[in-house]
Amino acid sequence: MTTATLSPREMKRRRRMGADYVAPSPYSVRNALTKGDVFTKLSAVVFGLGNIVRKQYVKGVALLALEVAFIVFMITNGVNYLSKLPSLGTQKQGKQLVDGFWVYVQGDNSVVILLYGVCTIVACILFVYLWTISLKCAYKAECLTRQNGKAPSLRDDLRALTDEKAYQLLMFLPTLGILVFTVLPLIFMISMAFTSYDRNHLVLFDWVGFENFGKLFSTGNGTVSARLFIQVTIWTLVWAFFATFLNFFLGMFFAMVINRKTTRFKGFWRACFSMSIAVPQFVSLLVMHTMLQPTGAINRLLMQWGWIDQALPFFTNTTWARVTVIIINLWVGIPYTIMQITGILQNIPADLYEAAKLDGANWWQIFTQITMPYIIFVLTPYLITTFTGNVNNFNVIYLLSGGAPVPIGDSAGTTDLLITWLYKLTVDKNDYNLGAVIGIMTFIVLAVVSLITYRNSGSYKNEEAFR
């Protein structure tokens, strides 16, 4: 395809992406429908027809089989699932008088209806995608037959999968996994935010629109309110900031001290710090939790030594609790940072250092001009994922402080993150709709913070800087 035929949108895309730009395939749906022959056009109705006519039997039959499977599914179940979705079921469980006998009637379960409805919608979207594939394949087979006398055989296709189309082979399973176990549950949960699925409506519930979002920003004194939401959000951000950057800089400091040329027993020191990874985080957190109780080992020890008169309020005073969780998180997180940064330090091309030394750079110059830029370049995505990970750091907070201290009457404690609050609302209180709303708000907070930083980072703008 020449540049002249590119649409203005494509031209813009090409300018924006530079070397990364990949031209669109000439075998598009639009071309197939306008320029294709009768078999190609018929492939829009009978999937795979174009391929079968051009002797690509395996491909064609596979496409056809998928189409038939989808249609059968829609006729037997799909239509039924979709029709119930708007009302989410109305039939209550109960007993009815039939011919003088009481008969138990199984009622509708709104959760099941919602889940099947969402799955059916996803299946429909996939079907549309399959439709485009069918057309594109048919058109491609037609064009190649015209060009070369015959369409590529199955073996040619398989060979392409190991070379220029290797991404299709490699990406298929991971993408499928993400789709089924990440995307589908998310759509399902997001749709719950717009229903009345709470502790009072566990079996039958309805769509309520944006009512739940209104509750979150209300000034009243309900389960959730604007005051609680703002308090939890601010603490979540403060926590994530300290947990990420303290871990990163201290971990880097540790790694560099260990990696100094004259430091002895490098392996031994690394092993010491790695020991805490070998003990499951879960265990060490539970141990710390019991140790830091008012009657726990640490308070007892300090009292024995006569350093304090009464127990330190590790989890009963807000400020104490907040500082405690951040410090304990350092204990948990620094070994991971050391491991990461050691790997990267070893990967910095040695000739960079040699050149710098020949030019007479001192260690500080080497650090700021070579080591730091390199680490930041490799680790910016890691820092951002760690930040998001910390905003969503359920384990440390839930197992260590459990959100304590909790002011009386509030549904969230002062060390509760948005994520633990969400968990408490959904699992302990069964307020699924409020939990889903908080989940969406967490997402918005994170999206705003990280998209800005990520798009401005060196490793996104210039992936090849250090090649």
Partner: protein, 298 residues
């Protein structure tokens, strides 16, 4: 003449200074590492000591136990009436092995595609994954349970498969660190291999994977640890005790009903769990090779 000697003296004192400074730095850094190592090791030593404690109650008078016995370990593996720890251990080990392998394969495959191959949906995929990662994982937990239930994977005996699926299926999304690492490998290596007739798939497993060993180690550890550490997902999926993973069992031991009798056994269980992880660690340490700068001869 005098000029020359002054210069010599100066250079001598400078040498002396540098040496002194280096020695001082050495002392300081070793001291620092020693203190920090102690801080990092104390809780671990404590767990180890506690696992041999004769007194099984949680709150004792001294920091370290005073009387030792092996009862906790024996009880842990023989007393199956209340909590069947050996079963839990096997459950988790099986899940962890599968998750480790699957997640490494997924992450490598996706990272290679993102770093080396150029196709139209590449940037879209990266952005979508980034956005998905911002949704809190806990939010989807109950939804995942409903989905597994609809497929029939929550029944007795199938929960192991359910857990493997849940932990490994989405792991392809965690490709960012691996991709960052692959981005630093010179493309001239790929080009040379392709000139020699390698397909892109061969470049992947003959060139990129061997160079990525340190990061594969990291990824494998992460994958293997997931089932041992996670308890939220496991708690939702494993409803009956026979399917419990180790994390759930340990958590159960510290609940109010059990803590009085099970606290020391909890420590023993923690030690037992740490053993496979530690062994794995030592094996994998060997892959931490020094310096990579030899891969391209300039």
């Amino acid at each position: 003449m005098s000029n020359h000697s002054i210069q010599k003296a100066e250079s001598h004192s400078l040498m002396h200074d540098a040496k002194k400074r280096r020695i001082l730095g050495d002392i300081l850094s070793h001291l620092f590492l020693a203190v920090m190592a102690v801080i990092w090791l104390i809780p671990i030593v404590w767990v180890f000591a506690e696992s041999f404690n004769k007194n099984t109650a949680p709150y004792t008078k001294t920091f370290f136990p005073t009387e030792f016995s092996l009862d906790n370990y024996i009880g842990l593996f023989t007393d199956k009436t209340v909590l069947d720890f050996p079963k839990m251990f096997m459950n988790t080990l099986i899940v962890a092995c599968f998750v480790c392998v699957i997640s490494v394969v997924f992450v490598l495959a996706v990272a290679y595609c993102m770093s080396r191959l150029r196709f139209r949906t590449r940037k879209t995929f990266m952005n979508v994954v980034l956005i998905l990662g911002m949704f809190p994982g806990i939010m989807a937990v109950s939804a995942i349970y409903f989905i597994l239930k609809a497929v029939g994977l929550t029944s007795e005996g199938l929960t192991t498969i359910a857990l493997i699926l849940v932990y490994s299926a989405g792991s392809g999304a965690g490709f960012y660190v691996m991709k960052g690492y692959m981005d630093t490998i010179p493309t001239s290596l790929d080009e040379a291999a392709m000139l020699d007739g390698c397909t892109r798939l061969q470049v992947f497993y003959k060139i990129i994977i061997p160079i990525c060993k340190p990061m594969i180690v990291y990824q494998a550890i992460i994958g293997f640890l997931t089932p041992w550490l996670d308890f939220v997902m496991a708690k939702v999926i494993c409803r009956t005790q026979s399917n419990y993973t180790v994390a759930l069992g340990l958590w159960l031991m510290l609940q109010k009903e059990y803590i009085q009798n099970w606290y020391a056994r909890f420590a023993a269980a923690a030690v037992v769990i740490s053993i496979p992880i530690a062994i794995l660690f030592i094996v994998m340490q060997r892959f931490y090779q020094e310096s990579m700068s030899g891969s391209v001869k300039g």
